[in-house]
Symmetry: C2
Subunit: 126 residues, 2 copies
């Protein structure tokens, strides 16, 4: 029962903490990436390394969600959330991001960056 | 300082709790929805009502992320995560989902459902 209350607390804290950012300032990107199919496993690894490092080291990088398509696994879609536009500008100058760009350069066939609004964000942990 | 440790605990619990699901069983959908532009605010409201209800009532509905495009706000992209395929099948039979489908019927111009893999998922709460 204790665990149940703890999970409720966790959920409430997670939600309030994320939304304590002024959501009007959030900078949200929808990113579509097509990679060369032979690079799939290597690209997945360096993308995750970049994201995990950014979340760990940069206070303004709030969230990444990444999927690829089952029938076309070379097609990736990302939803990226930064605290604000300044945080994004700072992010793309970091050494881990620049390292990712260099390493992925020959794996990425096309890249589309779309400025977006966060319309809905809801998760649970139980 | 107490708050700092609590946030670390929250983060660890959130991650372990989500991944305690066998991630091979996860059913992930990338959804692209084009609505009629005049329906934007009404559609946003009923979509959020559906998502919030599903997260609250259905144990197998784990997460929704929804964005629309700043330059084309009638274009929505969703990443939906269900515990497994059975949870998804159960979800689309619920009264709140069926209510959403009926209410949104004349707002949605096109709908694309793409089976997807969750490649990356990382957030922070501080």
């Amino acid at each position: 029962m204790k665990e149940y209350y703890l999970l409720i607390l966790v959920t409430i804290l997670s939600i309030t903490s994320f939304y304590s950012q002024d959501s009007n300032d959030l900078f949200v990107r929808l990113v579509k990436i097509e990679i060369f199919p032979t690079a799939l496993s290597e690209y997945t690894a360096i993308l995750n390394e970049q994201m995990n490092t950014a979340i760990l080291l940069e206070s303004g990088v709030l969230e990444y969600r990444v999927v690829n398509e089952k029938d076309n696994p070379h097609l990736f879609t990302l939803i990226e959330t930064y605290r604000d536009y300044a945080s994004y500008l700072s992010h793309i100058k970091t050494s881990h991001f620049l390292k990712y760009k260099v390493r992925s350069e020959n794996m990425v066939k096309s890249l589309e960056l779309i400025d977006a609004n966060l319309i809905g964000k809801t998760s649970k942990n139980n």
